[in-house]
Subunit: 157 residues, 2 copies
DNA sequence: CGCTTGCCTGGAGTGCACTCCAAGGTTCTA
DNA sequence: TAGAACCTTGGAGTGCACTCCAGGCAAGCG
């Protein structure tokens, strides 16, 4: 029962500062009814993309004003922050939709979500390793170009 | 034609373990005239993609047999290995084409190539940092799920 | 000799992740 | 209360990186 997905996120706001848009402009809980353009500004996504995310099932049900306009909550912002992180890993949107479905389905999907996160973690580690391999290649090439700058040797590649 | 011996490649074909393709099946320089399907097996790219790379200017001029079929050299394989690494970084194909053009243009583009490589290096470092940020988020979430899992387990006991 | 396999070409098609449009209704500012 | 600036929808369009197709040439084999 205690496996609700959401509570950690609310404290997550300033946790990772390096990447992503700053989310310091939040309103306190209770007054958190952001329009779509506010959310666009906060997340760096376009309003188009936010509506599209909703259409494909990547967002939970978004609250609406009495006239039908979207009103996003801090919790929605938390979810979008997670989605943004996952997107950075190269995870396909379809997989994120799958995760969103699991969250919506309730606590009994806990194990599956856990496995999905662990798999994603492995993928991220693998991608970091790949990038470090590429970095080594680049460094070799850069130092070659640096040397060639003095020697002015003719080269291919 | 010379495709009789090349069945050895089939062992390597599916063995695409983790990072770049192992390039241990090369022939010595001087005997390096690979068909397009051999190169496909060695690089993990499809023949379609190899022809497409050529069409968009991402490959240097590829040698041809007397009947017009492509014959790739070890040098071409080296270039493809670099392209593969750059592709892993998420560099757009258009940028790689730009780099290829600089290489074709000759030695006087040395500085520009150097700058491009250094910029790419910065991009890779930034992406690694992003991924490490994401990793932190995932780890926090995973440990939360782990705790919740133990809680559930102990509840059940 | 025909059959199969591999290769050639230009151009069309695919899948993903947005991105935009038209035609309205709503909310804020002066 | 006017008008700008926002919001709504379904559906169509875009850009990237392939991916495939049709129609044909070339070589090895029984």
């Amino acid at each position: 029962m205690t496996v609700t997905e959401t509570e950690t996120e609310t404290t997550d706001a300033g946790a990772d500062s390096c990447a992503g848009p700053p989310q310091g402009d939040r309103r306190p809980d209770g007054a958190d009814r952001y329009t779509i353009s506010e959310v666009a500004a906060l997340t760096g996504l376009t309003a188009h993309t936010l509506r599209w995310y909703e259409r494909i099932g990547l967002m939970p049900h978004i609250d609406r004003s009495h006239t039908g306009q979207r009103r996003y909550s801090n919790r929605d912002l938390d979810w979008l922050a997670l989605v943004g992180k996952l997107r950075l890993t190269g995870m396909p949107v379809a997989d994120m939709v799958r995760y969103a479905e699991l969250v919506r389905a309730g606590d009994h999907t806990y194990t599956e979500r856990f496995e999905l996160l662990k798999q994603t973690r492995e993928d991220v580690l693998a991608r970091i390793a790949e990038l470090q391999g590429t970095l080594a290649v680049l460094d070799r090439k850069i130092s070659f170009y640096g040397d060639a700058g003095r020697a002015l040797a003719s080269e291919r590649t």
